[in-house]
């Protein structure tokens, strides 16, 4: 009897609730629609058009001829010998791929070496000071990338600060050629992307349970052991997140290698641009862009897998 009354009272209400929920969901679709439409037109959609273009034939004046072809994709990896037409790997492209991956990895490593102590330092400040230190790290990130690269360009130049400093110490006699080298590109990228490493690392270290460190010290662990066996495994999710955030813009960097790298240290971004400029080979450029996107997606997949695995570890 009691149950009956309850169900009679409850039934219409829950139906009303469900109707309201449905209405709210429809409202949510309508509210997010304009942003999604703009993003589809000017961010996601063009990626699919580019994929389509990578399978067309290049027009010699730029643009494409509406005729299907695998030439663009072929040229990403292979080339014909100029003289006898034999099939060879496209070593120029492959060396640029290799350089991009190599420099991005070194950049990521540099960012870890400098970013990890910085994030740790900020996270162990008194709570009231933290936002100030974080602000100091974030500000350069929001200032113009071009300007920061230009600043690096000036201090690495022939008569720039670094050379003057080394000369005044008497370490070198002639100015070193620092600009337009792979080293310059790496330093520049590490400099501009460092905040991307510090921020996620900080977020992880801030939540670190420091009593675990105390336990390790109580068990006579040395400083180095605590760092290697306790701190680093615990902040691994932040390390991976930061590495991904640095690696993605590094591998797609365009401005930094263009200004600091000169002609001999081209990276993928510059190779892609070349196909739409002097190269006039849009399908190849499109195929190279898709390849870059695939590299980024593989890196992201690695990130997702490693975070879900560490999630399992935490559950144990």
């Amino acid at each position: 009897m009691d149950q009956n009354i309850q169900s009679v009272v409850e039934f219409p209400e829950s139906k009303l609730e469900r109707l309201k929920a449905k209405q709210r969901t429809i409202r949510n679709y309508f509210l997010s629609a304009p942003a999604l439409i703009v993003l589809t037109i000017a961010a996601s959609g063009p990626l699919f058009i580019m994929l389509f273009y990578s399978f067309l034939t290049a027009d010699e004046w730029g643009g494409v001829v509406w005729q299907g072809s695998l030439q663009g994709w072929f040229e990403v990896f292979m080339r014909h010998d100029i003289f006898d037409g034999t099939l060879l790997p496209a070593d120029a492209h492959l060396s640029i791929f290799w350089r991009s991956i190599k420099l991005s990895l070194v950049t990521t490593l540099l960012c870890i070496v400098f970013g990890f102590p910085t994030a740790y330092f900020i996270a162990t400040r008194p709570r009231s000071q933290r936002s100030f230190w974080l602000f100091l790290v974030t500000v350069p990130f929001w200032t113009n990338l071009l300007i920061r690269t230009f600043a690096i360009m000036q201090i690495l130049s022939h008569s720039g600060f670094v050379n003057k400093f080394l000369q005044s110490l008497g370490l070198i006699e002639e100015p070193l050629r620092l600009l337009y080298t792979e080293t310059a590109v790496t330093i520049g990228m590490a400099y501009v992307y460092l905040p991307l490493m510090v921020l996620p690392l900080y977020a992880t270290i801030e939540r670190l349970d420091f009593s675990l460190l105390e336990a390790a010290y109580d068990l006579y662990a040395s400083r180095l052991q605590v760092l290697r066996r306790v701190i680093i495994p615990l902040v691994k999710p932040g390390l991976v997140a930061g590495s991904i955030l640095v690696f993605i813009p590094s591998i797609g960097a365009y401005v930094t290698p263009r200004l600091l790298g000169g002609g001999k240290s081209l990276m993928l971004g510059n190779l892609i641009e070349l196909q739409f400029g002097q190269g006039r080979n849009w399908p190849l450029g499109a195929a190279l862009s898709i390849t870059l996107l695939v590299i980024v997606m593989v890196a992201m997949l690695f990130y997702v897998r490693s975070t879900s695995r560490s999630g399992v570890n935490h559950a144990h």
């Binding site: 990626l47 273009y53 500000v139 929001w142 230009f150 000036q154 008569s159 600060f161 849009w282 862009s289």
Partner: protein, 274 residues
Amino acid sequence: MHINFLKKRNRDRFNVEYVPSFPVLALICILCLYAPMVPLLFYSFNDSTLLTVWHGFSWQWYEAAWNNERVQEVTLRSLGLALQASVYSTILATMAALATTRVPKYRGQGLIYAVINQPIMVPEIVTAVALLIFFASIKAATGYQGTAYLVLAHTAFCIPFSYLPIRARLENMNLSLENAAADLYASPWRTFKRVTFPLLFPGILAGAMLAFVISLDDVVITEFVKTPGKDTLPTYMLGELRREVTPEINAISSVLFVVSILLVGMTFLISSKK
């Protein structure tokens, strides 16, 4: 004095949070983030065409930049573009934030979130090339060459940046005030206008300012989407950096640097205010 020093050593040694050499490395690192800007700012006041030899203080490069018609033109174009992109992206991001925050889970929510954040995850050069291809075919079909392409592209990649602070602000607002308004028979629109919007406003302002900075600073996408000859300030600077550099570029950079710092500082203050 000596005892104090020892005490400090002892405190550090028994502080479990302390890792040797980390504070030093951290301070060096933070210093290095700012140090390269110093010569740039310093030589913008140089009374010489040389970038690295100091001749004396002068405002001449700031005057030269101010009076340079080309710089005036590209600056105005950049400011107009950033203003439009930040207004549009903030409106769209606010609506999207309302649809994805403080709501029960619904189908497609994850996808909406992914699409909104997509411009952050895809390398800029890839988006830039894709837009070049897409807009080239529209240009060929319609013949339209105007600024709408740039406005559209900038609006799109600014959306995730305005979305972030708005969403963060919204997550910290509880629904009780809006529910109270609804209980008092306020229409949804009236509730938004009189309750949600005023509470959300700091987040919206922070979002708009971030979008403004992001749009003002963009080089790569603008470089590929712009109509030839219609540069923005960053693409103009990129072009100049390829030629002979005079301290005029230092002066422009310094101004842009200071403007960015001011805007970001204000954003921080606004979004940390309760």
